[in-house]
């Protein structure tokens, strides 16, 4: 009974509460008044040796983190790429007072975190261990012992790490991007390899530490359950012996952009997805007023799940699990880029969509709706970031490092609010504009053919070195020689139609660099026993070859001659076949089908005929290129003939433009007129 009364009582309470709220499911609820997020406060002070310290007190949890961060210029490591990184690890591998294993034990016993890097030393844990954590930090900083065996171990681990990365498409993509944008000689482009790691000595690491781990270029960031006063006292005591010294600076020229769109690729034959990135270096220093407009533009283009890239490439086309854009502001070189991982067969289509969306940003003003949404999203994300006490510390650090106004982050939201649609379009044209560099890590065999639509594909290896285009030849499933030939004949109008031609005439003009004028060429065939070819310039015959009644003669500037042997046989064939491929139907063993490959980025079938190789376009079936050799004045030269364009003449398709190169010479032949019956 008692329970019943309670039930009734509570039910009434619940009812009355519900009664106060009415909702309309058909529209989104109206938000209440917003609380402005507040940036946590910090204090800073400087030790006598020049170390600048930032303290963010946060007593919510009994924990603390302390990070020592160096602010130095980027370094080119060259033939010893990786030494800065090994030095960073080695610092934490033992001190004069603690072996590595003693250090590890001490840290683990507190359940603490400890790590060193080439620009940092960090400790963190429960605040009851604050003194011990400071002791470890200062011991590591003041008395590192650089043990030889730990150095050897780190080196071999780094080489193992390189092997692990060798198959990681993201790691390869990172190397490729650096090499393509900056080149291998630049601190952002150089690539660590086994050879560069092998070249590192322990003295390189010691010298790096001695030179750069100096208080005058360092910041200490303390966050957590500690008072400013305590922090000051403890750090002063622990780090007063740390000596300042002059630290070298390094200047680098601004990286220039490529003059034309580049498409660079690393072939990863086992890939089932392509890692695509496209972007550019941009000139955008810290604190620049274009940063907020670009943030808004980037948010609209590819800032998240509502971004145009995500909506287009994932939700509309289902090319990818995610597509995003971003930009990074950096003192040396800022970048803008967009990326996605897409399945092999849509790699080119995905790039087309990326370019389409970037163009839209440049050419169309964003709507008021887009603008408001992007600003809301960015302010929200800023607000959420303030949940972490580390945000206040990061802001303070950035203000100091980059010389920003002290209220830079306090005014962030108002700068964001002031961004207009015009601003967005302007920054899109400044920072998202081409020519872009497009990088692809994927299976060249499947994707490279179609990529040539964006430019000539440049190939790199996984270490960022330029390399030859991969030559792979494979037998595509279900494709035979007959299929390739049938596809070719179908594409030009059918083998039978060509076999039924009885007479054929063709006029062409030949153009070559350095030649005073066009050379006219004429061919006449009466199948199967008459063939004439004539070359003339300004009405004068240069050469004429005629096959008639089983004999052939050549006349013209080189004099007259009866043709014999191979030359005679070849003119006889010309008379017999209106196009040479017809012979293959009668004599199928004259050619072999080798498989499918890539030529100039085009997927082609390869057919070999004696010393000649022919390539048929997989997409169209048409002959794309023939490669053979000819005798030249200094030995054999390669003759490459590309059948650039085809044309239809009364229902049949004939070649229209040919580009031929023979050794250093190249010609363009244009077919002016074809008649046949």
């Amino acid at each position: 009974m008692k329970k019943y009364i309670y039930t009734l009582f509570i039910a009434l309470v619940t009812l009355s509460l519900s009664a106060q709220v009415t909702i309309d499911r058909s529209t989104a609820p109206t938000p209440g008044p917003a609380r402005t997020p507040e940036i946590g406060s910090y204090e800073s002070f400087e030790l006598k040796n020049g170390l600048k310290v930032f303290v963010v007190e946060d007593h919510k949890l009994p924990r603390i983190t302390m990070s020592l961060i160096l602010d130095r210029d980027p370094i080119v490591e060259g033939a010893k790429a990786g030494y800065v990184s090994i030095a960073g690890d080695l610092i934490g591998a033992g001190t004069a007072n603690r072996t590595k294993s003693a250090l590890d034990e001490e840290v683990d016993f507190m359940g603490a975190n400890f790590g060193t890097g080439s620009n940092s030393i960090r400790v963190g844990g429960l605040s009851k261990y604050t003194d011990q954590l400071i002791d470890i930090l200062s011991d590591v900083l003041l008395n590192p012992s650089f043990p030889e065996e730990e150095f050897d171990k780190l080196k071999s681990q780094m080489i193992s790490g390189l092997k692990a990365n060798a198959d990681d498409p993201d790691a390869i993509s990172g190397n490729l991007r650096g090499a393509a944008l900056y080149g291998l000689e630049h601190p952002y482009g150089e690539v660590m390899t086994e050879a560069t790691v092998e070249a590192i000595s322990i003295d390189d690491c010691k010298a790096y530490f001695d030179t750069y781990f100096r208080p005058n270029i360092a910041y200490m960031v303390v966050i957590g359950d500690i008072t400013v006063k305590d922090a000051k006292k403890k750090l002063n005591k622990a780090l007063k012996k740390w000596k300042a010294a002059e630290v070298p600076t390094h200047e680098y020229a601004k990286t220039s952009r490529a003059a034309a769109t580049r498409i660079v690729m690393v072939d990863k034959p086992s890939a089932v997805q392509s890692v695509v990135w496209l972007g550019n270096v941009i000139d955008l220093p810290q604190g620049h007023p274009d940063i907020e407009p670009l943030r808004v533009a980037n948010q609209i283009l590819g800032g998240g799940m509502s971004g145009r890239l995500f909506t287009n490439l994932r939700e509309d086309k289902a090319f990818t699990y995610g597509a995003y854009s971003n930009f990074g502001v950096d003192e040396l070189n800022s970048t803008f880029g967009a990326s996605a991982k897409v399945r092999n067969e849509v790699t080119d289509s995905a790039i087309t969509e990326f370019l389409f969306e970037i163009d839209r940003m440049k050419n169309e003003a964003v709507t008021e709706e887009d603008l408001i949404a992007a600003k809301a999203s960015l302010s929200g994300s800023f607000g959420r970031s303030l949940e972490s006490p580390a945000s206040a510390a990061n802001f303070a650090l950035n203000i100091a490092r980059y010389g920003l106004p002290s209220d830079y982050y306090n005014n962030y939201l108002s700068r964001l609010e002031a961004v207009t649609a015009e601003d967005v379009m302007r920054v899109a044209n400044t920072y998202m504009n081409g020519p872009l560099t497009i990088t692809v890590v994927g299976k060249a065999q499947d994707v490279a053919g179609k990529l040539s639509a964006f430019g000539e594909v440049e190939y790199y290896d996984a270490d960022g070195n330029e390399t030859e285009a991969p030559t792979f030849l494979f037998l595509p499933e279900g494709v035979t020689k007959d299929a390739v030939l049938n596809k070719f004949f179908d594409a030009i109008g059918g083998a039978e139609a060509f076999q039924n031609i009885t007479s054929f005439e063709q006029e062409m003009s030949l153009e070559a660099p350095g030649m005073p004028g066009l050379v006219g060429m004429k061919t006449v065939k009466n199948i199967p026993d008459y063939y004439l070819t004539e070359q003339s310039m300004q009405g004068m015959t240069l050469m004429k070859v005629e096959y008639k009644d089983g004999a052939a003669t050549r006349s013209g500037m080189r004099g007259n001659a009866e043709l014999e042997g191979e030359e005679l046989a070849s003119t006889a064939k010309e008379a017999k076949y209106v196009i040479s491929q017809l012979e293959w139907l009668e004599n199928p063993d004259a050619v072999t089908f080798d498989g499918q490959t890539l030529v100039n980025g085009k997927d082609v079938y390869q057919i070999t005929e004696g010393e000649q190789t022919h390539y048929f376009d997989v997409a169209t079936g048409l002959l794309y290129m023939s490669v053979g050799t000819a005798e030249g004045p200094e030995g054999d030269i390669t003759v490459t003939t590309v059948y650039k364009e085809w044309q239809e003449v009364n229902g049949l398709t004939f070649v229209k433009t040919i580009e031929q190169s023979a050794g250093p010479q190249s010609f363009t032949v244009t077919v002016e007129k074809v008649t046949w019956k």
Partner: protein, 442 residues
């Protein structure tokens, strides 16, 4: 398991404010929806989360990948929310959202400025009440999920290891497959099957609504009643009851992958995550690989230098799971260089009690981890929902350390002897494809 609404209210936990103590209130709606609320005004944000107690283990073996696929589908819209608008509502409000699916649960969340908290309630109630499942969404998300699998599994070195492990470790139990599931199954699925899955599992009495942040509890309760109160309850979901027979002997498999460094993964069947033994195994794992002074790390990475990385972790699940050791060879080293040392370290755990000092160390590590966890509103909301769903005790967020403290040195030795044995394990040997024997050589 399901508490009465009113007793829920009466018993609602209102712990006193103190450092590290997370106060919350919990109750059930009439339709069975479990609600947990945590109020914290430090930052003007709120995390709105819904946990559905459905994961890949609830799937039909012929339709694996369904639970995860559903997670994708349920962003497609509802009767009142157009296709693609789930995200834009949240983003435009300055929030963020996402979801994830495991073997045991599907979890949706919105992180919002606190004045937009009601938006999260509207969206989540729409998702629960009348999701709009249509062909266009199904077709699109099928392709998206395939890309997700390519990105996470097929194109990732060692990416297939969990799938390979679970299918050998469990043969009867639905832990046999992993949440990403089979693409063939997804291809074969018809629209009505999706509708049936939704009706069966996306019901208030199979869900926990957990909210943490800058909220007014009383106002929030009223709003929750308004948005969720009239969603009809469904037939209670029955969790699988498959009893997996003993593994009955070690299983070994060699997998040739696009890698250069060999790796070996050993997986041992585990008891359910709520059991005392699972806690003891968590401690055992910390002895083996918690930090650079741990036994396996010190032995294989520091001393023998046969491994570039080694770690063990209990992949704890509601009805079992796997205690995993993962060891990646240093360049030039082989799996056989690593395995004897791994086995020796496990044998040491079985043959000798760990020292008092080592025991103190792992307890300190547990304490540190515990104190530092739950520092964000999103993390708190999620932990509360997890503890409620799997343990029936959301207050574990404040007390779980006691369960670790209850583990003795003898317990650690005992669970090592009981579970970390050959008869109870699967060994996966990952080798570079270049080492794969060719057909001719065989």
């Amino acid at each position: 398991m399901k508490k009465m609404v009113l007793t829920g209210l009466l018993l609602s936990t209102l712990s006193a404010w103190s450092q590290n103590n997370i106060a919350f209130e919990e109750y059930d709606l009439d339709n069975g929806l479990h609600v947990i609320l945590h109020e914290d005004h430090s930052t003007p944000i709120a995390a709105v989360t819904v946990l559905y107690h459905v994961g890949s283990k609830n799937e039909n073996p012929e339709r694996t990948g369904f639970a995860h696929f559903f997670e994708h589908l349920l962003f497609e819209g509802s009767e009142n929310i157009g296709r693609g608008e789930f995200d834009s509502y949240v983003t435009n409000a300055g929030g963020a959202l996402n979801a994830n699916t495991s073997q045991d649960r599907t979890f949706y969340f919105e992180l919002l400025p606190s004045n937009q908290m009601e938006l999260g309630l509207w969206l989540e109630s729409e998702r629960m009440l009348h999701a709009n499942i249509q062909t266009v969404g199904v077709e699109t998300q099928r392709e998206v999920v395939k890309e997700e699998k390519r990105q996470r599994v097929d194109n990732q070195p060692y990416g297939s290891w969990l799938e390979n492990m679970m299918k050998r470790l469990y043969t009867e139990h639905p832990y046999n497959w992993v949440p990403i599931g089979s693409m063939d199954h997804l291809n074969a699925a018809q629209l009505d099957e999706f509708m049936a899955f939704y009706k069966k599992f996306y019901i208030p009495n199979n869900a926990t609504l957990s909210i943490a942040g800058d909220i007014d509890v009383e106002k929030t309760k009223a709003l929750i009643e308004a948005y969720f109160g009239d969603i009809p309850a469904g037939t209670p979901v029955e969790q699988p009851t498959v009893i997996e027979p003993a593994l009955g002997g070690e299983k070994t498999a060699t997998i040739y992958d696009n890698i250069q460094l060999p790796a070996v993964m050993m997986g041992y069947r585990m008891p359910p995550q709520t059991s005392d033994d699972a806690y003891a195994l968590q401690m055992a794992s910390t002895v083996l690989s918690g930090g650079p002074s741990s036994r396996m790390y010190k032995r294989l990475v520091d001393q023998d230098q046969t491994a570039l990385q080694v770690f063990s972790f209990p992949f704890s699940l509601e009805q079992g799971g796997a205690f995993i050791t993962f060891s990646l060879a240093n360049a030039g080293k082989t799996i056989d260089d690593m395995v004897p040392a791994l086995e020796e370290e496990i044998a040491n755990l079985q043959n000798e009690l760990i020292s008092e000092r080592e025991f103190q160390k792992i307890q300190n590590q547990m304490e540190s981890r515990f104190v530092q966890s739950n520092s964000t509103m999103a993390g708190i909301a999620e932990s509360l929902a997890d503890y409620h769903t799997y343990y029936g005790d959301a207050n574990l967020i404040n007390t779980e350390l006691e369960r670790y403290r209850a583990v003795t040195r003898e317990d650690i030795q005992r669970v090592a002897q009981k579970y970390l044995v050959k008869d109870n394990r699967v060994v996966l040997r990952y080798l570079p494809k270049s080492e794969e024997p060719t057909a001719a050589a065989e």
